[in-house]
Amino acid sequence: MTNAILTGLMLGGMYALIAMGLTLQYGVARIMNLSYGEFLIAAAFASHWLFTGWAVSPFVGLALVVPAAFLLNFIVYKLLLTPLVRRAPNRDALEVDSILATFGLTFVIQGSMLALFGGAYYSYSFLAFPVQFLGETVAANRLAALGITILLGLVLYLALTRTRAGTAVRAVAVDPFAAQLVAINVPQASALTFALGGALVAAAGVLVSTFLTFSASSGVVFTMKALIVVVMGGVGNMLGCLVAGLALGLSESLVASYVDPGLTLAVNFALFLAVLLVKPAGLFGRATR
């Protein structure tokens, strides 16, 4: 039982980390990014390549992959998504356009990875020894990933609530038009936040690659889980993201160990539907319509 809960909490922490980037991209930049999981897998492949090819530890890899992802996502936003933002007459139209564009992007990235790495599953052995934690035996790489996840979450939370730039980002999330009235450069803030979300998902990808096997086509599942967590927690809400992520991880781990591992996605969906039926705006979201 303790083991299942501990596994669930670690899984949940990972989901929360994965979803944090998406909640920034969707909540602030208003881009519903369906190619999100593909960016995660791309970072995982980058980490794999660095570790097996150059013997670079994934923790050092983070320092390389994350800035690169930030830059890449910034370019993606500027080149691909800004025309859509300019073209869209309202938020709903932007949503439809961004869904379509990023859906297309999904296949471009996935296709490129398939061409580069093939359809096989990849993994590498890093910190793969057992350690004692709270009286249970867990893998060291999972524990390390959880630690970094908590650290990243804390830094992000403090940055958003305690700094001037973070306040500006939250203002854009609340109302992009009103934010302009108080001299916030909304397009710039949106682009940077989108890039920040991309950097976070790259960090998640590197961490995930240390303890999960992945293939070029496993991005969709991560996108799916991130979307569920974001909606469950309330769009743009960091705390909701954490709670929803943990709930998802716990329920998955409990179902996998007591019912059947093949039903985890069904549990995800059931939980998602239950939250939507009771609180359509998410656990911590404020109802806007």
Binding site: A115, T223, M224
Partner: protein, 314 residues
């Protein structure tokens, strides 16, 4: 009904009769190609029927297609063919109604998210059931249905879809959907039961997709979940409907025909980079032709008509 509509009707009927003779040509390759063309035409048109007027992007085409195909794989040898089709259609409609009722009451994003994962969810459930309960993964489809039979069934379905789409567009339901597409809040204030309208049309469109899957199933002799629930179908159908222009009933055909031919060519020539090319084509369409070929025609005829005679473009 005016003379123009009657003329179009006669033309459509003539085309239908002419197309019915394709299997008589006796060329297996052309027949296979014609089946692909019809398959994507029906799927894209069915997709456009719901997503065109409402502007809710559905990514679940494969889920319904797969439900149909898998129903045939399970029941095809046990029950008579019409009954199998009926059960498949009922299953598809049932799933669509559940998904619609639980997500279409809310904003469009939840619907997109749900349909995005629906294929994977159903595939996982089928795999789980096959592994744990029935203990067979992958089934053989031995039914007495030839390629020509598949073709004729698809042709009949195509005709039915167009007739249905035309009827819906002229009905109160079709009008309600157009209002919803323009502004959902206004639609509610006009007294339109928006949830009912959306769920009804989503169910109809999904039932058609399920039927396509069921009809196509005998084409493969062996079906397993990863074949039936191949997410490329969702993607291709979406591209086709968007290229053609989903806001018109006849729009998706304009995308389905050229793109089916193009994909046929590309997947044979560039099997490894096919997905990348597909993604690029899709992005091009989203950026260059947001309203599809149909929108382009409308724009052209509007400017041409405005310059030449000043009449209102049809």
């Amino acid at each position: 009904m005016n003379a123009r509509a009657a003329g179009l009707g006669v033309l459509a009927l003539a085309a239908l009769v002419l197309l019915a003779f394709v299997p008589r040509l006796g060329n297996a390759y052309y027949l296979a190609l014609a089946i692909s063309l019809l398959q994507y035409t029906v799927l894209a048109t069915a997709w456009g029927m719901f997503s065109g007027p409402t502007r809710y992007v559905s990514l679940a085409t494969t889920a319904f297609f797969g439900i149909g195909a898998y129903t045939v794989a399970v029941l095809g040898e046990i029950l008579p063919w019409p009954l199998v089709l009926l059960i498949a259609a009922a299953l598809g409609a049932f799933v669509a109604a559940i998904v619609g009722l639980s997500t279409l009451r809310l904003s469009g994003v939840y619907f997109v998210i749900f349909t995005f994962g629906l294929t994977e969810l159903i595939r996982q459930l089928v795999v789980w059931f096959e592994v744990n309960k029935s203990r067979v993964l992958g089934r053989y489809v031995f039914v007495d249905i030839t390629q020509a039979d598949i073709y004729w069934q698809l042709l009949a379905l195509t005709a039915a879809v167009f007739l249905l789409g035309w009827l819906i567009a002229r009905s109160r339901l079709g009008f309600a959907l157009r209002v919803i597409g323009e502004d959902e809040t206004v639609a509610k204030h006009c007294g339109i039961n928006t949830t009912f309208a959306k769920v009804a049309l989503f169910t109809i469109s999904a039932t058609v997709m399920t039927l396509v899957g069921a009809i196509m199933a005998p084409r493969w002799t062996y079906i397993e979940p990863s074949i039936a629930f191949n997410s490329m179908i969702s993607f291709q159908v979406l591209i086709m409907a968007l290229l053609g222009g989903a806001h018109r009933l006849w729009g998706p055909v304009l995308g389905a025909v050229p793109l089916t031919l193009l994909f046929e060519l590309l997947s044979a020539r560039f099997p490894n980079t096919f997905t990348i090319i597909l993604g690029c084509i899709f992005l091009l369409i989203v950026y260059m032709l947001p309203r599809g070929v149909a929108g382009l025609f409308e724009k052209l005829s509007a400017t041409a008509g405005g310059k030449a005679t000043g009449r209102v473009a049809a």
